[in-house]
Symmetry: C2
Subunit: 226 residues, 2 copies
DNA sequence: TCGCTTCGTTTTGTATACAAACGGGTCGGA
DNA sequence: TCCGACCCGTTTGTATACAAAACGAAGCGA
């Protein structure tokens, strides 16, 4: 990981995910190489990787731009996410170690205090632990790769909706329900609870997004085609 | 697409998918660059792309190898595939143009004759048309990207199980049922029929794979970790 | 005889130099 | 004045040269 291409990739990814590089920003190889202190060759590799992961859009023009985050693209993302996570919840309900998800349920139950004392970052860290537990329960590297792809884009979208303590508290309750359902091996409930959670999450993000773009002021171009 | 990196990518992908480059084959940059008549720079890009798509495994050692196709990896792949395709079938049942899937159902109904007169390649072309219709009904570029990733690996796995006319005829009947369910907007049936089809397909591939590896003769190493 | 260290070869990773292609701008003509 | 073609600058795509690191083998020592 000490390779220049990797560090360039990590740096760019971080900046895109943190909205320091805004959607639509053109990514000139020469300029970025200079700014990141690497040669064009490893930078090209980093850019190619970001393009394949969907964070960089190379389809328009020759110079790549940071890919767009529109209401349409987020809706599409959540459609895929629902397919993956509901089935993941079902599978986990069959295979998991109940103790793991029992412990997670308890931690989600006490999340309101966590939010008060340590803030939203600590809560997101807890969600990451939940994701890891889900991955471990699945025991499927291919499936995990697909989930990671979704989580990557989700991390960027989530930055818009951060800092809504009320929503996060409800999110914690939804996660708690998912955890108990998985712990109890209740396949149907695990899937349904996941659907409920994702719908609430999507709604929140879309509302925040709409509030941010007053109307007639599209954030940065549209989604793919018509 | 006239770029050297793209042609190298396409050539390598073709050879891997057609089992001309067998799983485990080491991919030396110098040798491949010479063989394909391109420089190492574009070849590296091609190799990186294949690695990100999962056709090349760079985790073991420094030199990448063609990724493995084991019973375990195929089972994992199908677990992901089921998550994606069952939900895709549900969504398509809600959104599709009935005429499209009605026409497809008719063509799957007459697939037995197609298999007799034109062979399995023509049948696979029909399946590809079905996939395209599904993508179009979804109208979701992100979802399609995930499906394409699965289809890529599936194409390689399928090469093992090809040329079982009896199975293909049954596959056609399963597809016909899926098409009619989608056409009729029957969400539950579309999903269930897809599950049935995928299970049958997986079983066939695993049986063929087992018959090919007589025992104690692992095709080419194991899957990821333990 | 087994294990460790060390050296050599091979392979990847990076930098730079060069060629080609796209875009913008300007000049000329209708 | 508007349209079109051509030219030039910038940017990407490719090739090669160099550096660093990893694998393997051989030799030494216990």
């Amino acid at each position: 990981m000490a390779r220049a291409s990797d560090s360039a990739y990590k740096a760019l990814r971080e900046q895109i995910l943190h909205w320091q590089l805004l959607p639509g920003t053109p990514l000139s190889e020469i300029e970025l190489a200079e700014r990141l202190g690497v040669s064009r060759t490893p930078l090209r590799a980093a850019l190619a990787r970001l393009a394949l992961e969907g964070l960089v859009d190379t389809s328009r023009g020759r110079t790549g731009v940071v890919s767009d985050v529109s209401a349409a693209s987020i809706t599409d993302l959540f459609e895929l996410r629902e397919a993956l996570e509901t089935q993941a919840a079902r599978l986990a309900a069959r295979r998991c170690d109940p103790n793991v998800f029992d412990a997670l349920a308890a931690r989600f139950a006490s999340a309101p205090e966590l939010l008060l004392t340590e803030g939203s970052d600590a809560y997101y860290a807890l969600v990451t632990e939940f994701d890891a537990a889900l991955d471990h329960a699945l025991g499927n590297a291919v499936y995990r790769g697909a989930l990671d792809g979704v989580r990557l884009h989700l991390a960027r979208a989530r930055r818009i909706a951060t800092a809504n303590p009320d929503r996060l508290a409800r999110s914690a309750e939804e996660h708690r329900l998912i955890c108990t359902a998985i712990r109890d091996g209740d396949v149907a409930l695990a899937a349904s609870a996941t659907t409920v959670h994702l719908n609430a999450s999507l709604t929140t993000i879309l509302e925040t997004l709409e509030a941010r773009t007053p109307a007639g002021h599209p954030a940065s171009g549209q989604k793919g085609s018509a």
